[in-house]
Symmetry: C2
């Protein structure tokens, strides 16, 4: 059911595809880096499995592979970046670097991005800050699949938030999560297996609770983190809204129900109020608050305290955000990246288009 | 069961109590403002109902009513504030003002606070940014009541996050929520009524799911937003952790299981790694990103789209974060603030100590 490929094989393949659709050498490398880090870290839904989706967006003329990405407004600690309809995989690292550079100068940097596209996993962009001893933050809006509390309409995307925090001897703390109860990728897995999903993940077209993994196809919606009001869904709804507003209302991108969809075959919303998809990035220099070494000693203490706290029966340990992803990365760098046969077929088809073999 | 008091009666009463315990005129006013805004906005658990708790902390010599609150480190966009063991109700507005002032200069301001105490409701501090056309952010850690996913130990507080975003003709967007499924205040209400609580709010001492509102008394714990792993509790746990780290590991306050408890009778944790409780504040000038008027037009459009989205049967409308609190405030400014008899009794006892009548 799975085939194993090395990191370098998949990276070259993705890089070459990005070159074929017109990216510069530099952009093709950056885009392949952004994509492959998802496969390495075990976020299979956001890695090379999406490559054909990006190609289809390019075919539909919704992605500009030779964008002039630029800062359109700035202050010492902020900027708005116009992605010029480029690949989010390339626009995001550009914008995150702007945030990091500003943090070097004035302590923190905050960048809102318009006119971009799907940027891969939020975590990889947030993690760019780590090597400069900074906290990194990344978020993005996405096309509407989520119904706010009490609503039957899809008004928000799964709008993920990532926060990467450096530690000393311990691995960094890296949280990266959709602001819904379950990410869409998880729902799709249950759908393929024809399994029910837990309550609180989805609702029907009329807003009834449901455990049917295919509810989205029937006009239903994903639910904000919390599931229903009684379990705090108004908090998940607020979080997803904050991501939407920081990413798009601040920058001039599309927001709420007007965010362009990732699948190229889905028609664009009407009367769009902005440009493309929006992202938001932040970088905070640790030593803008306290000496980095001191901070790291305390982060190690924090991590060890949580890591060694007593577990419920049947669980080995309490997990620190980012820990499973590091295990995936170590294992997959050594033993390769397993791809579902259906993903391999899809990649081969994309390769064929451009006379390339996987 | 309720007695109604005017805002001004309760404000004067609280102000006078703060004067009696040694606050300056200015600080007593600020503290009373911070406290009463909770009563006005319907967050009854964080208003004058807590006044006696602050007095007990002062009696236990855990609050310094004549603090020298000061900036101990800063860059153009950041600062660390030492609250000098002052009332959080006073320390927080000081620190939020520092964030606002920095945002005026360089676009954004970010302040981490150590050596503070309980700061009331997060929302009121975040909202200070609104009148300067800024987005305001406020968060705080709190003493440990929450078990991380898979843990049986209380490692995190209810660690709330507030984000206040200006709008044009519409009311501002103000989200203010604990990073747990349910705030402790809600649990206490069910406890007083001897009612069960929904699944996902609490667990037993050994980490079993429970619907017993008194589970905390039996050594159990509150649960992070999501409730259990299947419903995304690792996301709530990550969020609460981020609040803890930004508030305390960045500033040098106590974090995780070492945060000092609010009830003065609860002994302090041993081997505390920092000073007092920690908070984190942010201010982002809207026009550091795009013209404020343009932003507000789009915020109005955002709010109207969500507000008018179709509802599930039986619900009147989709609620915008902050909307119910505005309704409370309008009603209570006009008709007064209802206090439970038990709260009135408690306030009278505090008044008696200082020869004051309510």
């Amino acid at each position: 059911m799975y085939k194993i490929y090395s990191y370098s094989t998949l990276h070259s393949f993705a890089q070459n595809i990005f070159l074929k659709i017109g990216c510069s050498n530099e952009d093709a490398t950056i885009a392949a880096d952004s994509l492959l880090i998802a496969d390495l870290r075990g976020v299979d839904s956001h890695g090379v499995a999406r490559l054909s989706g990006y190609v289809r967006l390019w075919e539909a003329k919704r992605i500009n592979t030779v964008p002039q990405i630029k800062i359109v407004h700035e202050t010492p600690s902020t900027a708005v970046v116009d992605g010029d309809a480029g690949l989010g995989l390339v626009v995001a690292p550009f914008a995150m670097q702007v945030a990091i550079d500003k943090a070097k100068n004035v302590g923190t940097g905050w960048v809102s991005v318009k006119n971009s596209n799907h940027f891969g996993i939020a975590g990889s962009h947030a993690m760019m800050a780590l090597k400069s001893d900074m906290i990194g933050i990344a978020m993005t809006n996405a096309s509407a699949l989520v119904a706010p509390t009490f609503s039957t309409e899809r008004m928000l995307g799964t709008n993920p938030i990532a926060v990467a925090i450096p530690a000393g001897n311990e691995q960094p703390f890296v949280a990266d999560f959709a602001t819904t109860t379950a990410a869409n990728g998880k729902l799709e897995i249950s759908q393929r297996k024809n399994e029910d999903v837990p309550s609180g993940w989805v609702q029907t077209k009329t807003g009834e609770p449901s455990t049917n993994a295919s509810e989205l196809k029937n006009g239903g919606a994903l639910l904000p983190l919390g599931g229903d009001k009684e379990h705090g869904s108004h908090k998940g709804y607020a979080l997803g809204s904050i991501v939407d507003i920081f990413s798009a209302v601040l920058s001039g991108a599309n927001y709420g129900p007007w965010v362009p969809p990732f699948p190229a075959y889905v028609p664009m919303p009407e009367n769009m109020p902005g440009e493309g998809i929006g992202h938001f990035f932040g970088a905070m220099r640790i030593d803008a608050f306290r000496p980095a070494e001191e901070f790291k000693l305390h982060m190690d203490k924090w991590i060890r305290a949580f890591s060694s706290s007593k577990t419920v029966e049947g669980q080995k340990k309490v997990i620190i955000p980012g820990e499973p992803e590091v295990e995936f990365e170590n294992e997959r760098r050594k033993n390769g990246i397993p791809l579902l046969e259906s993903v391999v077929e899809d990649l081969k088809r994309v390769g064929n288009k451009f006379g390339m073999e996987l």
